[in-house]
């Protein structure tokens, strides 16, 4: 089998595994065991404790939070197998990856591909160390699924651009240090008039207003740009190349929104284990309600396939040296299953699973309710399910546009 390792490679892997275990033993604070990654979460930051800070700095220094990124820019410089070992050992120890967020998921990989040497030197190392939070300036009030209809305009003023316009659904905009944005530099061409640029959120003229969502949370913002000066060196790629670069970034977004570890973490404990706590069971431990049991099995079977699909997309992409065609289904399938799980969780818990606030509800019950509501966004943002279907039909299946 091609996937089996040569004896030498296996010895190297064992040595590396030991190195990772030693690193965790030396650096991972016990009090953080089995706790999540606040920085990468969608709800924004919690105040970093000294232990969290120490762990972030330790991982950041090694570059292991971004294990496969090049070492010269602060990444881990690891191969896929080594990266998997880091992931496995972290999981075994109950340790989380403290380096996350949009810089890691979307912006970093895109900048590594399209950025200038100076831009990479400036922006990638702080992402690897988890020091800078990025937000995404994409959607506008009239540019949602029809993203290329965006109107935020960057006027050429010689040594800088003057940016005016409004972005919306800016995830984490209120906490972000910087924004990667697609803006219009030419009004005469819908797609070729778009450029990709980097905007400091503390520049005068940038105003952020959080939007309260059905979940009661405010993970998204409206972001207004009024005569915002953006230096020319913050343009990524060429003027007019923004649509190409912006779409590449969306591919990273889709892969991460669905297949990556973040989705798996969001899923939490298995539904069947939760059901056994809330619902009546038979003497042998099986669920007494046969219909609910069947529904849970039906979900868990498809969820198992999805995890296999996500793994396969990674393996195929690696073997082909390009994005595998099944990557196009990950976002659509993963987000739909996530929503189905949230609905099943409510069915399992009954009204106890619909609490809004109060001590009578456990933290996990309350979080699930907010998560169920927030989860409705997952099939809308990052290219809605309908847009994913268009992409699959046209790009993968070669089904033509209406003539």
């Amino acid at each position: 089998m091609a996937t089996q390792l040569e004896p030498d490679a296996r010895a190297d892997e064992n040595a590396f595994r030991t190195e990772v275990q030693e690193f965790i033993a030396a650096n991972f604070p016990e009090e953080l065991k089995n706790r999540g990654n606040a920085l990468a979460g969608v709800e924004g930051p919690s105040k970093e404790t000294p232990a969290q800070k120490a762990w972030r700095e330790a991982v950041g220094e090694r570059g292991w939070g971004t294990p496969t990124w090049p070492k010269q820019y602060g990444g881990g410089g690891l191969n896929k197998a080594e990266a998997r070992i880091v992931e496995q050992e972290f999981a075994k120890a109950g340790a989380y990856n403290p380096i996350g967020g949009m810089g890691v998921m979307m912006f970093g990989p895109t900048l590594l591909e399209y950025g200038s040497e100076e831009q990479k030197q400036e922006h990638i190392p702080p992402i690897c160390r988890g020091e800078i939070r990025w937000c995404q300036g994409y959607s506008e009030p009239n540019a949602g699924s029809d993203l290329a209809n965006l109107q935020t305009f960057a006027e050429d003023k010689g040594d800088h651009y003057l940016v005016n316009g409004q972005k919306t659904w800016t995830s984490g905009g209120q906490w972000a240090d910087k924004c990667f944005a697609i803006v219009r530099t030419d009004k005469s061409d819908k797609h070729k008039g778009i450029s990709f640029m980097l905007i400091d959120m503390d520049t005068p003229g940038v105003e952020v207003r959080p939007i309260t969502m059905i979940s009661g949370m405010s993970p998204f913002c409206e972001t207004f740009f009024t005569d915002v000066k953006v230096p020319k060196e913050n343009l990524v790629g060429e003027e007019g190349q923004g649509w190409t670069i912006g779409k590449r970034l969306l591919q990273h977004e889709r892969t991460n929104l669905s297949g990556g570890g973040s989705m798996a973490r969001m899923m939490g404990a298995s539904l069947s284990n939760i059901a056994k706590k809330y619902c009546e069971t038979n003497e042998d431990g099986s669920l007494a309600d046969p219909i609910l049991r069947d529904k849970i099995a039906n979900f868990e079977i498809r969820w198992s396939s999805f995890l296999l699909t996500a793994r396969r997309a990674v393996d195929e992409s690696k073997a082909q040296g390009g994005v595998s065609e099944i990557s196009s289904v990950l976002k659509k399938v993963g987000t739909t299953l996530g929503q189905e799980r949230a609905e099943l969780l409510i069915e399992i818990r009954g009204l106890q699973g619909l609490g809004w606030e109060g001590d009578e509800f456990s933290d996990s019950e309350l979080e699930s309710v907010r998560g169920w509501l927030f989860g409705k966004a997952t099939t809308i943002y990052g290219g809605s399910t309908e847009i994913q279907n268009n992409i699959i039909a046209k790009r993968v299946l070669g089904m033509l546009d209406h003539q």
Binding site: A2, S304, V329, N390, M399
Partner: protein, 356 residues
């Protein structure tokens, strides 16, 4: 598609070319027309065995290539694409039972013959129309088997039956005390009820308490591989048809309602492939076989059901005709969905294995 090694790619390409050129659906039409209960072309099976396909999971010392289940699945998938009728899956399942549970003598006697195609074998477990390995009445006393088996795949033409009795699996050679009754199912393939009346039976003593379930898991995964090939073929044919067929002065592929349906099916097919390949790989690695095999067959059932129905719907009226192949896939699909575990059976099994 799982990432393959060079041997596997060669094997798959060989099977793909052979199925396409030598065994298109037109060949199955000939078998059907002949009306023989055996319902496969014995010469074609001899050729398949010569190419080594019957020995893919059999150890080299017994005349096989020991390439494993992932490799066997690749061949079976390609043959499933063209609905190739053959006892390859049945023989491979039976061989796996002998490999897991057979004595050295039993292995030496049967495996080389199965690998070379000289003998054909099949697994007989169920005694009624629904898969239920927990209610077996067939018994053996003094080396003689008594009992009935229902809807046995590839029974006609089989030299050897691997038969589940109350106390384990037995090898029974076709001969005295074995009588077959043809059961013509909608797929018009080779099925029969078998009555054992004092037939000589030799127990598979190895393999432990889980032997029957272990063999059934192999049957589930290999059947799922055939179903994967069928689903892929129906999907590809349907997509092709949508790109040709013109209505309202437009090819159908330009209509968004159909684009989105195909995108949904494409995603389901991706899920099915992951599950089936996951099952094959689990058997090769020996890790988590029960659950992986259950997921593989459950997903194969779900997705092939969907795609075989949509294949007809999207072809429109022409898909209802015997002249078009798509209906053949629908009929074979239901037979395989009902074999070795229906969707509800498999969901129950998944829950049982997961202890809920």
């Amino acid at each position: 598609m799982a990432v393959l090694n060079e041997e596997q790619e060669m094997l798959r390409d060989m099977a793909r070319d052979w199925a396409k050129n030598e065994s298109p659906v037109a060949e199955f039409r000939k078998v059907r027309t002949s009306g023989e209960p055996q319902a496969y072309n014995a010469d074609a099976y001899a050729t398949m065995a010569q190419m080594g396909w019957a020995g893919v999971i059999i150890p080299e010392e017994h005349g096989g290539s020991d390439f494993g289940f992932m490799s066997a699945g690749l061949v079976i998938e390609e043959l499933g694409k063209t609905l190739t009728a053959s006892p390859l899956i049945a023989t491979t399942i039976a061989a796996s039972a002998i490999i897991l549970g057979g004595s050295d003598e039993q292995k030496a006697k049967w495996l080389p013959k199965l690998a070379s195609g000289e003998a054909v074998a099949t697994l007989a477990v169920d005694e009624s129309a629904r898969h239920d390995p927990s209610s077996i009445e067939t018994s053996v006393s003094g080396g003689k088997m008594t009992g009935k088996k229902a809807f046995v795949h590839e029974a006609h033409g089989a030299d050897l039956f691997v038969v589940a009795a109350k106390d384990g699996l037995y090898l029974v050679e076709n001969g005295d005390g074995v009588s077959l009754t043809t059961r013509k199912l909608t797929d018009q393939r080779n099925h029969a009820d078998i009555a054992f009346d004092g037939a000589a039976a030799e127990k598979l003593e190895g393999g432990g308490d889980s032997l029957l379930e272990d063999v059934l898991d192999r049957a589930r995964v290999l059947t799922a591989a055939e179903m994967l090939g069928m689903a892929q073929a129906v999907f590809d044919t349907t997509l092709d048809y949508l790109k040709q067929r013109v209505q309202f002065s437009q090819v159908l592929a330009t209509f968004q309602a159909l684009q989105h349906r195909m995108a949904d099916l494409f995603a389901d097919l991706a899920q099915m492939r992951s599950a089936v390949e996951g099952g094959l790989q689990a058997i090769d690695s020996g890790f988590g076989v029960g659950q992986a095999a259950t997921v593989a067959k459950a997903e194969a059932n779900r997705v092939l059901h969907l795609i075989s129905n949509q294949g007809i719907q999207l072809h429109g009226g022409i898909g209802m005709t015997d002249e078009y192949d798509v209906g053949f896939y629908l009929k074979r699909a239901r037979v395989l969905e009902s074999s070795w575990g229906s969707s509800s059976y498999l969901r129950d099994r998944f829950a049982r294995l997961s202890k809920y």
